[in-house]
């Protein structure tokens, strides 16, 4: 890069100088580059997760039955995440929530009337709650189904959802999609939630 006249012997030690300076600067440079690249990857992954939650909740609210494998595949089509019908480094919980009317055991509370799961259930539990196996999937309905039995009466059907949703009117349903996925170790602070995973939730 620079021309060194051969009659200047002192230059030899200056070459070492440059290397040492580079060595000083390199960590900062590498850190900045790594930060930009990994930050970009995390953002990209997180946007995929958010979009997946939106698509899932939107389809679910329009009546798509995710108990059927074909519909699971349709949702997963084209996403770059590792989620499959029953495995992968992530999971999608689809929950339909209604208000329990007066005179029922769960009166005044939001309850889970339907639950569908796509992906690896061991990866994360639903934050909304999990109806116990005696009432979900509905034992009296033909399989596969995601319906919950006696959701107005069973304690395990009670949903844990944000207080802003508690004004849901009687007879109205809220369709919720939760998506959990591994971050592959790329995280910044507490922004993406729990260690090693990111999540997004959509309420339709």
């Amino acid at each position: 890069m620079y021309y060194r006249p051969s009659f200047l012997p002192a230059v030899r030690c200056r070459r070492g100088n440059a290397v040492a300076e580079l060595a000083l600067v390199m960590p900062v440079l590498v850190f900045a580059l790594f930060g930009v690249v990994s930050g970009g990857l995390v953002f990209d992954r997180y946007m995929t997760v958010v979009q997946l939650s939106r698509n899932a909740a939107s389809m679910f609210s329009r009546g798509t039955n995710f108990a059927l494998d074909g519909n699971k595949d349709l949702l997963l089509l084209g996403q770059e995440l590792s989620i499959t019908r029953t495995g992968g480094e992530g999971v999608i919980y689809l929950t339909r929530v209604v208000l329990a009317p007066a005179g029922t055991a769960n009166e005044g509370q939001l309850v889970i009337s339907e639950r569908q799961v796509i992906g690896n259930t061991a990866f994360a539990a639903s934050a909304i709650g999990q109806p116990n196996p005696a009432i979900w999937p509905h034992p009296d309905k033909p399989a596969p189904n995601g319906e919950v039995k006696d959701y107005f009466e069973e304690p395990s059907a009670v949903a844990s959802v944000p207080a802003t949703l508690m004004t849901l009117p009687l007879g109205e349903s809220m369709y919720i999609a939760e998506v959990y996925h591994a971050t592959d170790g790329l995280r910044f602070g507490g922004v993406w939630g729990d260690t090693g995973r990111m999540s997004a939730v959509a309420y339709f």
């Binding site: 900062v28 009546g63 997004a200």
Partner: protein
């Protein structure tokens, strides 16, 4: 010496360069990180707006302030303050614009986010905004209610559920009508708007009587859609919601009668297949409106035990009265019999066989109705199982719901025809839920 000074200046060259470029580096970090973060927040904002717009559309029947409330509730559930470090997230009031048989509903949303790098350059926060629009097609809906004798014990519940059903649509944009049937049927309230107060009164006035004739109910439902004076009806959603509590045991028909005083080439009528007799009763039971077909001389009816029907032939063509040829000019046959040679129809035919004929008639009629390529009617069925066992397969065919587990068109029994919803109520307490499930389903369709 001058040369030497130049060499001295080369000492610390990399650090100097780095110091010069650090500004650019941070700027690019700012772009990459802050804009990436902004895009993530925008994705969540769009989710919140999409959900809010759909929620608002479901509340369209209750007016703009109810739409705003629903949108606000859904929006803040999806993007509460603090989520993704967002502050001041807000959603506008809906902008509603009518558009050829539909209404377009638009919301604007915005949220503030902090910046991480750009703040070093004096930008502490950014405002993210987005807009979503969804269209709600206006609805033309005909509610078909079974008021046969068997519903009498639950009639108050049915009326209550039916009123909740019709009240869940909009007086401003939707037209809702009522058809009732028992042995015969009629258009009780032609679809119109505003409909709420008159239609609620009409529902309250229903009393129960007689037998069950599905096909006549389906026929009048379709007829009321056809007669609807609405130049945009082909752009709207045309829905028939069919409630019944049992199997059909009567059906409308057209017969050739060639016996004694009743010798007539064609006789339109309503035919019963219960109680061990057949009877032509349309003349007696049809309401004065829209028009009562003339009584055929000498054929006022047949009594039990006679063999007057032994030469009745070929059924069933859709009723052409009161205006012949108006709806089905080609006269499509909607039912056939297992025996081709006379007697086609005799008193030894079992109730089950007679119910199959009635089911066959209404099934074929429903398929015929759905084949209308202009109105593209969809048929939804609500079944009440409290008074007698329902024939589920018939109701599945009426709604064309296939397995009925989901709304995918590919799962329909006949994929070339529109798919409806089937909801069964197994007791009185589930009636309200069943009606609201169908109204909710119709309310959620936004395309």
């Amino acid at each position: 010496m001058q040369r030497h000074r130049i060499h001295t200046s080369r000492r610390g060259q990399i650090i100097l360069l780095f110091a010069l470029f650090i500004g650019f580096l941070i700027s690019f970090s700012a772009l990459a990180f802050d804009l990436g973060y902004a895009m993530v927040v925008r994705a969540q904002l769009v989710t919140a707006l999409d959900a809010a717009t759909l929620a608002a559309i479901r509340y369209a029947p209750e007016g703009p302030s109810a739409m705003s409330d629903a949108a606000q509730r859904t929006f803040s559930a999806n993007l509460p303050p603090g989520r993704l470090l967002v502050s001041n997230s807000s959603i506008s009031a809906p902008t509603i614009t009518p558009d050829n048989g539909a209404m377009n509903v638009t919301f604007n949303g915005s949220a503030n986010i902090p910046t991480f790098f750009a703040r070093w350059f004096g930008t502490d926060s950014m405002t993210i905004s987005a807009q979503t629009t969804a269209a709600r097609r206006d609805r033309n809906i005909v509610l078909v209610l079974d008021y046969s004798g068997s519903v009498s014990s639950v009639l108050p519940d049915i009326k209550q559920a039916a009123k909740a059903f019709v009240n869940s649509f909009s007086d401003q944009t939707d037209q809702v009508g009522l058809v009732i049937f028992s042995t015969s049927g009629r258009i009780d309230y032609a679809p119109t708007k505003p409909f709420k107060s008159d239609l609620n009164a009409a529902i309250d006035a229903i009393g129960s009587e007689n037998y069950t004739n599905h096909a006549i109910g389906m026929y009048y439902a379709y007829r009321s859609l056809l007669e609807l004076n609405d130049s945009l009806k082909d752009m709207k959603m045309n829905e028939i919601v069919f409630f019944t509590d049992g199997r059909a045991n009567w059906f409308p028909g057209r017969f050739n009668v060639t016996l004694g005083p009743c010798s007539q080439p064609v006789v339109d009528g309503v035919y019963g297949i219960g109680g061990g007799y057949y009877s032509r009763v349309l003349s007696q039971l049809a309401p004065p409106s829209p028009a009562r077909p003339p009584v055929v001389a000498g054929c006022a009816g047949w009594a039990s035990g006679t063999n007057a029907l032994q030469s009745i032939q070929a059924l069933w063509y859709p009723p052409t009265s009161p205006t012949a040829g108006e709806i089905f000019p080609e006269g499509i046959a909607l039912a056939g019999f297992k025996n081709s040679a006379p007697p086609l129809f005799d008193n030894n035919m079992s109730s089950a066989e007679r119910e199959q004929i009635a089911a066959n008639v209404v099934d074929n009629l429903a398929r015929k109705v759905r084949r209308d390529s202009v109105l593209k009617p969809r048929i939804h069925v609500i079944g009440y199982e409290g008074s007698s066992t329902l024939e589920r397969s018939v109701l599945e065919r009426l709604s064309n719901c296939g397995g009925c587990a989901n709304v995918d068109a590919t799962d329909a029994a006949d994929t070339t025809q529109a798919k409806g919803k089937l909801v069964l109520a197994s007791n009185q307490a589930q009636l309200m839920q069943a009606f609201l499930e169908v109204s909710g389903f119709i309310g959620r369709i936004t395309q």
